[in-house]
């Protein structure tokens, strides 16, 4: 099979970008989408044209690096998979495929199809953790976690930080991502002491990074490769509201006993 590719090319963050059209070499339907791009790149290189830059690493749907919008949909036509888990058998001979990077203000483009998602890291640095110094933990089985909670926490923890949810949202909201992080830790007993401080810090950081507001259209859930549920956004909203009610904890006057 062969397909026509309309690919976004952009030299760097400052340059203007444009679509370029290529005809793919002969393809095997069992190739992955990224292997198709590898083959295209070898051909471009052999012709002396610069290969298309695209991000990838694990190529098995877990690192969250790959990030392509294929025909308008982040991670392509299949539900519940990443770009790297998309196979050419999902397309037909002669199809036209439009390939773009994530487009969102907080994810500036680095080159061609590669964007910069460090804003996600910064949100997590603001509070996405349970404070536990190395060596200070109690025996693991001294903190039982009801299986239901732990399974639900695991559902949220599956988020791979790819950013497709942001790319799909017309407001570039990062709510699904932040909700997944907040719910994972907030559902565990270990996460309770910092639960409200965490949600407040992360939501505020999300806003200052320039992510937009959530209007619950569900476009994020539809493209999420790990099928993170919108229910977690409701949970985030509840926790955030409580955190606002609670305000900052009052400091007691005076030091210790000395």
């Amino acid at each position: 099979m062969k397909v026509t590719l309309k690919v976004w090319r952009q030299k760097n963050a400052k340059a203007a970008g444009e679509f370029k059209t290529y005809t793919s070499p002969e393809l095997n339907p069992n190739m992955s989408f990224l292997e198709m791009l590898d083959v295209l790149n070898e051909e471009l290189s052999n012709r002396g044209e610069e290969p298309v830059a695209f991000d990838h690493d694990c190529r098995e749907g877990i690192c969250g690096t790959c990030a392509l919008v294929i025909n308008g949909t982040p991670h392509g036509p299949h539900k519940g998979v990443t770009t790297c888990q998309t196979y050419m058998r999902s397309f037909k001979d002669g199809d036209q495929l439009i390939i773009e990077p994530w487009r969102a203000g907080p994810f500036p483009i680095i080159k061609d199809l590669v964007c910069d998602r460090k804003s996600f890291d910064r949100i997590q640095q603001a509070g996405g953790f349970i404070t536990v110094r190395t060596g200070s933990a109690p025996d693991a089985n001294s903190i039982p976690v009801p299986k239901g909670n732990s399974d639900l926490a695991m559902d949220a923890a599956q988020c791979i930080g790819c950013g497709a949810c942001v790319a799909a949202c017309k407001n570039a909201s990062a709510m699904l991502f932040v909700a997944a992080k907040v719910s994972h830790l907030g559902l565990m007993p270990q996460g309770q002491p910092e639960r409200y401080r965490r949600v407040k810090a992360m939501v505020e950081k999300m806003d200052t990074e320039g992510f937009g507001a959530c209007t619950v259209t569900g476009s994020c859930e539809a493209v999420c490769p790990k099928e993170i549920s919108l229910d977690f956004i409701a949970r985030l909203n509840r926790d955030y509201a409580v955190s606002l009610l609670k305000g900052e904890p009052k400091r007691l006057k005076g030091g210790g006993a000395g």
């Binding site: 590898d38 290969p51 039982p144 930080g161």
Partner: protein, 653 residues
């Protein structure tokens, strides 16, 4: 010759670590802040150690080539992590985990390091659980376990099929906490391209900013490499595409010795190759062997039949037949070689004949499809995505693939290389797995090194370093190292040649698989060395990199990594040629058990099992880069002296 002192503490094996911690020098809190430590890598080893060092008060700088620390290859680990908790009350103990690991490594690991690993394993699970890692649990709310290869107890902790991601997110959250608190400065999209050695001590690195192409110098009081394994030397492997050997290799070229490079692990259960375009091989976790049964047809005439058309009595469950005590849970090297043997006999399945079945029919009958789905659902759907086949209704097709490298930079008990000030953690060092790693023990080692070992042992070195004595980056050594990096970039982008880095990588991979893969022999290795040296010459003269060095340029990144892989490939072949024995994952066809051996007659091992030669090869090979590149590398040996365990014949029957 390099000086190799393993610095193993004296005293009984089980007390060495405690004694060592007690007798090591401490650094007072006010001084810790004056030491700057560079950590390269943020996988399990790098994240955990960066966070912990910062908690202790050191000034830590963390470098990764990834866009985020969370994307390190550790994220891809599926199956689980071992720990001697004995929560199952099935007879596990620190000593048993230690013993299984030493035996699993075919008696080629350092005894004292492995014992420490087993001791520390229990703290790791506590640490991770407290961080909120959502480990699998039983209905009572306590932690669940599963079994992994090479063990007869259930000691593996897991989080669905993505234990690696969950443990990494835990370590990454600890790292984030310290980045947020200002204790760690994180440099992402920053690739280390050289090590700077000043007066024999590692004191800095040269880094390329992948976004801007800027080359930067960084100096520190100590350098920690936690840069992962080098399995991508084979091109096709279960590793992430970006995993590479560059940091370790550049350190080797600056004087750090490289140990046992030929010890590579071929994992028995991966999805077979489907075509020339293939870019990676996907692992199907070892945990599947808890409930899946491996077989091929008894007769080669049946190999092309659909599995459903092969009667039960015509199937050969060869692992159960050959290794009755461990069956489908035989260690990886054993299971992989057995798969190769049955395929070499013409009984391999699938279009290429390079495949065996992993069958769940019996477990589905016994447990029901729902239970199997709960345990392995994500793996079954991954298999379906890739192959378009349904493993609930017909068996999976699997074949061995390159998965892990036991070799790596040589380190002493303190995890310091022979270059003072250079420490090596996680898969990048050689120390704990001998000639074969057991499943679920790499995650354990990465976190043990990172959370619990290095933060203690680094003080032994730092206590000898004057505070405020860090060299400035303007001195000659930094200049020379930067010029070395710039020179490569200029040559690569000058546009003279005609071949892409990828085409060299593919060719190298095939060559390595053929000559230094699952079965090796003298003639093949010698041929491999000569072919690699031709390839190296062609790479030098005929490489072409498009684009410029001042922008994001993945082809340029690749070019540097492939160049290092080619050189490493040659060293691996040399190491395999030197090691005239078989052990663990290193199988030399000349050294295997035959029907004439008494061990076979007594039923301890099978014909074709690996045959060690302890009288001559009970040592760690530590290769040293020669004075000039045209000379052969120098072999140093660290004898393996076992105080407690007797080097026995490894039997899984």
């Amino acid at each position: 010759m390099a000086t190799l002192n393993s610095n193993i503490p004296s005293g009984p094996l089980s007390q060495k670590w405690e004694n060592h911690k007690f007798s090591s020098k401490l650094i007072n809190p006010a001084n810790k802040r004056k030491y700057k430590i560079i950590v390269v890598g943020a996988g399990l080893a790098g994240s955990s150690t960066s966070a912990t060092l910062a908690e202790l008060g050191y000034e830590v700088h963390n470098f990764v080539f990834h866009d985020s620390p969370r994307r390190a290859h550790s994220v891809a680990a599926q199956g689980g992590i071992n720990a001697a908790k004995n929560y199952q009350n099935d007879g596990d103990s620190v000593h048993r985990l230690f013993y299984d690991t030493i035996k699993g490594g075919d008696y080629r690991a350092r005894e004292a390091n492995v014992h420490r690993l087993a001791e520390v394993s229990v703290n790791i699970i506590d640490q991770c659980a407290a961080q909120g890692v959502p480990f699998a649990r039983e209905y009572g709310g306590l932690l669940d376990n599963r079994s992994f290869g090479g063990a007869q107890v259930s000691r593996t902790f897991y989080a669905r099929g993505q234990t690696g991601q969950q443990l990494l997110l835990g370590a990454y959250s600890a790292l984030n906490k310290m980045i947020g608190a200002g204790g760690v400065i994180s440099h992402t999209h920053s690739e280390m391209l050289d090590l700077v050695v000043v007066n024999g001590h590692a004191k800095g690195i040269i880094v390329r900013d992948l976004q801007t192409g800027g080359i930067h110098r960084h100096s520190a009081d100590a350098i920690v490499l936690a840069t992962g394994g080098y399995g991508n030397v084979f091109n096709l492997s279960t590793y992430a595409r970006g995993s590479n050997v560059t940091a370790s290799w550049r350190a080797y070229k600056r004087g750090a010795t490289f140990s046992n490079p030929c010890y590579t692990q071929i994992h028995p259960t991966c999805i077979p190759v489907s075509g020339e375009y293939q870019s990676k091989l996907t692992l199907m976790s070892e945990s599947l062997r808890n409930d899946g049964r491996i077989w091929v047809p008894k007769r080669k005439e049946d190999a092309k039949k659909a599995p459903a058309d092969i009667a039960e009595s015509d199937r050969d469950y060869y692992l159960e037949r050959m290794y009755s005590a461990f069956g489908n849970l035989a260690p990886r090297d054993v299971a992989s070689r057995a798969a190769k043997t049955v395929c070499d006999e013409g009984r391999g399945i699938g279009s290429t004949g390079l495949g065996v079945y992993l069958d769940f029919a019996e477990s589905i009958r016994r447990l029901g499809e729902d239970k199997v789905r709960e345990r392995y659902g994500n793996l079954f759907s991954m298999y379906h995505e890739i192959t378009n086949e349904n493993a609930y209704t017909s068996p999976m097709r699997i074949y061995p693939a390159v998965h892990y490298t036991m070799g790596g930079l040589w380190v002493d008990y303190n995890l310091m290389s022979n270059l003072p000030g250079l420490f090596v953690l996680g898969e990048a060092n050689f120390s704990d797995h001998g000639a074969n790693r057991l499943g679920a023990s790499a995650l354990m080692q990465g976190l043990s090194d990172g959370y619990f070992v290095l933060p203690n042992t680094i003080a032994t070195y730092l206590s000898t370093v004057k505070t405020g004595g860090r060299p400035g980056t303007e001195i000659g050594e930094f200049k020379e190292a930067e010029e070395n990096v710039q020179g490569f970039i200029r040559r690569a982008t000058s546009g003279k040649g005609s071949r892409t880095p990828d085409s060299f990588h593919k060719q190298l991979g095939k060559l390595m698989w053929e000559h230094c893969g699952m079965a090796r022999n003298k003639a093949g290795l010698e041929k491999g060395i000569s072919l690699i040296s031709d390839l190296r010459e062609e790479y030098r003269t005929n490489l072409r990199v498009l684009g410029d060095a001042e922008n994001w340029n993945q082809q340029l990144e690749k070019a540097a990594r492939v160049g290092d892989f080619i050189e490493l490939g040659e060293l691996m072949c040399r190491d395999a040629l030197m090691r005239e024995e078989s052990c663990g994952g290193h199988f030399r066809e000349e050294y295997q058990y035959t029907a004439a051996d008494s061990e076979v007659q007594q039923g301890i091992v099978n014909v074709g099992d690996v045959k060690r030669r302890d009288d001559q090869f009970a040592f760690v090979a530590a290769w040293e880069f020669p004075e000039s590149a045209d000379k052969a590398p120098i072999l140093n040996k660290e004898p393996l002296v076992y105080e407690e365990v007797k080097m026995g014949t490894r039997s899984y029957k």
